[in-house]
């Protein structure tokens, strides 16, 4: 029963993925929505507004400074999560099994 449910959920998620992908803007089209909204503004005005010679940096550090702070926090969180999941559990299990082995040996 659970297997059927999980297959159904998988099918649903795949369908949602395909539907949302078809809604994405066309690549390499200068008249698509994202290419006409803020991108021209960044390309034309980033030098005067931020003083940065490179507008990738201007977007990364100035216009989207909060976003980059969030990205850094996400990386840090991912690191902490990995360390917490992998380190403590494995260490404890192995220590416990070692202890159990020792105790069995004594008895």
């Amino acid at each position: 029963m659970m297997r059927i449910v999980s297959y159904l959920v998988l099918l649903l998620m795949t369908g949602v993925m395909f539907i949302t992908t078809s809604g994405l803007p066309e690549l390499y089209n200068a008249k698509s929505a994202p290419a006409t909204h803020v991108s021209p503004h960044y390309i034309e005005n980033s030098k005067e507004e931020t003083g940065s010679p490179n507008f990738v940096t201007a977007v990364l550090a100035d216009y989207r400074g909060y976003d980059t702070l969030g990205e850094t926090t996400v990386i840090f969180t991912a690191g902490i999560a990995t360390v917490l999941l992998l380190r403590t559990s494995k260490g404890k299990e192995e220590k416990d099994s070692k202890k159990a082995c020792l105790e069995e040996g004594k008895e």
Binding site: S52, N54, L69, T72, F76, L86, E94
Partner: protein, 143 residues
């Protein structure tokens, strides 16, 4: 992973390559403001230095940061980023408005220094996270 598996060829070429990777990483970090590159890339390169050292030289490698220290360092990196933002707030600008930094320089230079500050934070965070994840993955075999 924990025993050294380097032959003399691998060991010697490792010693030649490492300084170049380090210098390249610092170059990518410092030139991040006006050329491709920046904190994330520099952090990945510097993390690779430590991972390679551990892979080639084994447990008693020359360049070593333990997992606990690494995760602390990642926190410090994130804190540096936030601290630069708070610093600009204290000196009367908006959050992350680098022009407000109290440095005796022209506006574009202050801006560049602010970006360098946040990118150093990003570099530390990425580098330390790579080291911490690698350490957590290879730790199992130690016991």
């Amino acid at each position: 992973m924990n025993k050294r598996f380097g032959t003399i060829v691998l060991d010697t070429s490792f010693r030649f390559i490492i300084p170049f990777i380090m210098v390249y990483s610092v170059y990518v970090l410092i030139h991040g403001e006006d050329s491709p590159g920046g904190g994330f890339q520099a952090g990945a390169l510097f993390g690779i230095v430590f991972v390679l050292s551990r892979l080639v030289q084994g447990e008693d490698c020359a360049l070593k940061i333990s997992g606990t220290k690494a995760i602390m360092l990642a926190g410090v990196g994130t804190a540096i980023y936030g601290f630069v933002g708070v610093l600009t707030l204290i000196f009367g600008g908006n959050f992350l408005q680098y022009g407000a930094l109290p440095l005796n320089m022209h506006e574009p230079e202050r801006h560049a220094m602010g970006i360098l500050g946040i990118e150093i934070g990003v570099t530390l965070c990425v580098m330390a996270t790579i080291i911490a994840i690698f350490d957590a993955l290879t730790r199992r075999e130690e016991m």
